[in-house]
């Protein structure tokens, strides 16, 4: 396509020279030089009419392509929004994007060990690094602890995050949305607790009730402290999804921690797409820091390492990939099939136009354009159908359940980039699939073709 265009340009800017050249050396170059658009238009006209000639076959083939396009776009859109929603919920209401711990903390996180906390000095180091990092939007310092939860008649175990409410709300802004009962503003105050739904139900506590938390300190002694139930917290899937919340200050008094130590620093980025880059940066800064025994002090992880949902997300990506491959196969086979037939049926016509002087290139383009138009048509209908279906799904407010979470709203979206990629793939494959039959047509010997019955 470049060559004709260039020649056409040349023909315009130095017409006389080109004209002389053309008259001098046969008409070979004229097809690509003089009336390129008109010829192209005519090729499209011929291709369109030939497609209309076998209307039912054309419709069936493009319907197949349409079906494939719709399947891929809807799958991308639904699985994509499901993925984005799950990831968004996990990162924005619990994990943050990146977390920093003391080396070895994560390996024993199930027992919420207090002796693996970051020391005040170490926390200050991380703080300094994060404050300087432009890509970091917010971070939250947490102490994670296990305690006994007592409503004065019964006792149960509870896992708790002790946080600074302002920091926590900036780092995981969707956490407040998980408060299903009680005041959302400000998350919580000193002396208050957000109780996970399951415990609230099991222990029959209501907003405003007083409960007692009893925790074992690092030195082995036990300490208790009363709290007022401030809100009930909805659980989400994954580890840590059913933890309660108290104020960081209360955790320090409950655990009798003097130093400003912290078990976990959750970090929120301004742009999640830069995750890998920012992660590498922070890891590069914290990784080399060693303690007196020459062992690394910190461990840094992205959200992907912290939740099993990442594997589900990866599985979805893999499925998307296979569905795309199927689309490519559908387009390839259906277009090639129909174009092979088209060439076979029109052998006589090919012989005729070749005999009266149509050059092989043009015969080739006649058939390639036919495949191209089939691809365009099928894709266009497919994209329109998919967009309509997506709009309908959004309007219909479809709900679904995931794990213990009920009534999640399905809000499928599709990006222009995805649509363009799928459309471009289909069209390129359509052209490739028609190349072989078209090439066969172009190479046909006119006499043999004319004699064909």
């Amino acid at each position: 396509m470049l060559r004709p265009f260039l020649l056409w340009k040349t023909a315009n800017c130095c017409k006389d020279l080109t004209q002389a050249y053309i008259t001098e050396f046969s008409k070979d170059l004229i097809p690509w030089g003089t009336f390129y658009e008109e010829i192209m238009f005519n090729i499209f006209k011929l291709a369109t009419r030939n497609l209309q000639r076998y209307r039912r076959r054309t419709l069936l083939t493009s319907m197949l392509i349409t079906l494939g396009v719709v399947a891929v776009l809807l799958f991308i859109s639904i699985s994509g929004s499901f993925k984005a929603m799950m990831i968004g919920q996990i990162t924005d209401s619990m994990l943050g994007h990146i977390q920093v711990h003391r080396k070895g903390y994560l390996a024993s996180i199930d027992s919420l060990p207090l002796d693996r906390n970051l020391k005040g000095k170490q926390v200050a180091m991380v703080k300094e690094i994060l404050d300087k990092n432009e890509a970091v939007e917010a971070y939250s310092m947490r102490i994670k602890l296990g305690a006994m939860f007592s409503n004065f008649t019964e006792t149960t175990n509870i896992r708790l995050n002790a946080v600074n409410p302002a920091q926590e709300m900036q780092t995981v802004p969707m956490l407040v949305d998980r408060i299903i009962k009680g005041k959302k503003e400000g998350l919580l105050e000193k002396g208050e607790i957000l109780v996970p739904e399951l415990i609230a139900k099991g222990m029959r506590v209501k907003i405003g009730d007083t409960i007692v938390l009893v925790a074992t300190n690092k030195d082995g002694s036990v300490n208790g402290q009363p709290f007022i139930v401030r809100g009930i917290l909805e659980g989400i899937s994954g580890p840590g999804g059913r933890d309660g919340f108290i104020h960081l200050h209360d955790a320090r008094t409950l655990l009798r921690i003097e130093d400003k130590e912290i078990s976990e620093i959750a970090i929120r980025l301004k742009n999640m797409n830069l995750l890998d880059k920012v992660f590498a940066g922070i890891k590069g800064q914290l990784g080399p820091i060693k303690n007196k025994m020459d062992k690394p002090v910190f461990e840094v992880h992205t959200w992907q390492k912290l939740t099993p949902f990442f594997n589900i997300a990866r599985m979805i990506d893999l499925m998307t990939f296979f569905i795309k491959i199927m689309l490519v196969a559908i387009v390839l086979v259906s277009i090639m099939n129909v174009m092979v037939m088209a060439v076979y049926e029109r052998i006589n016509e090919i012989g005729t136009i070749a005999a009266i002087g149509t050059v092989p290139n043009k015969i080739l383009s006649l058939f390639v354009v036919e495949g191209f138009l089939l691809g365009i048509f099928g894709t266009f209908v497919g994209v329109v159908t998919s967009l309509a279906a997506i709009a309908w799904m959004n309007a219909a407010q479809i709900n679904f359940d995931f794990g213990r979470q009920k009534g999640l709203l399905l809000a499928p979206t599709i990006s222009a980039g995805d649509i363009l990629t799928v459309a471009a793939t289909v069209i390129v494959i359509a052209v490739l699939a028609s190349l072989q039959p078209a090439w066969k047509a172009a190479r046909m010997d006119p006499i043999t073709a004319l004699r064909h019955v």
Partner: protein
Amino acid sequence: MSLIIARQLTKTYIAGDIEVRAIRGVDFTIEPASFVSFVGPSGSGKSTLLNMIGCLDPPTSGSLEVVGQDTTQLNRRQAALFRGEHIGFVFQDFNLIPVLTVFENVEYPLQMVQNLPKQKRQDQVRELLKAVGMGDQGAKFPNQISGGQKQRVAVARALVTNARLVLADEPTANLDRKTANLIIGLMKEMRDEFGTTFIFSTHDPKVVGNAETIFTLEDGKLL
């Protein structure tokens, strides 16, 4: 100067182990604006000879000059371009393109082969359709006209490029006697009007009578 000069022109087909000597060293010249017929029984080599003159099939040996050009050495693409510029074809089965109207069929070689600008093309097509008596049928599709009309359109298509030479292999084989004579008459008229050389082949002695120069072929040889 002669339009076509053939010297010791030979065509041998090899089909498996069998050699078919379709044309066995013929010599002839054809002058511009002549009206020529090749006659002979089936299998005598008429189509083979016309295909060679028409640059559709290269000779096995001998020399062949068409419109001042040695055509024995042209490659595929060059041959296509040469045909598009100098030679018109009329076929036994009319071979109009079914998805194009009568007008568009005649326009086809001007657009897709010679790449003329629109205005010029349309003037020429109108002139030729009028000349073959199809001036008011331009909007019809080939399946809407009769065989004789199709062949008229085919003649117009062959002439529209101002070709020096029109080759017609059995142009009347699919037409009744009356229509056949009308088509041959039309070709002669066109020769008179445009000075184009017409060469047609036939095995029908009644049609041959219209020709001015008659070459008789038998077993690949000229009598």
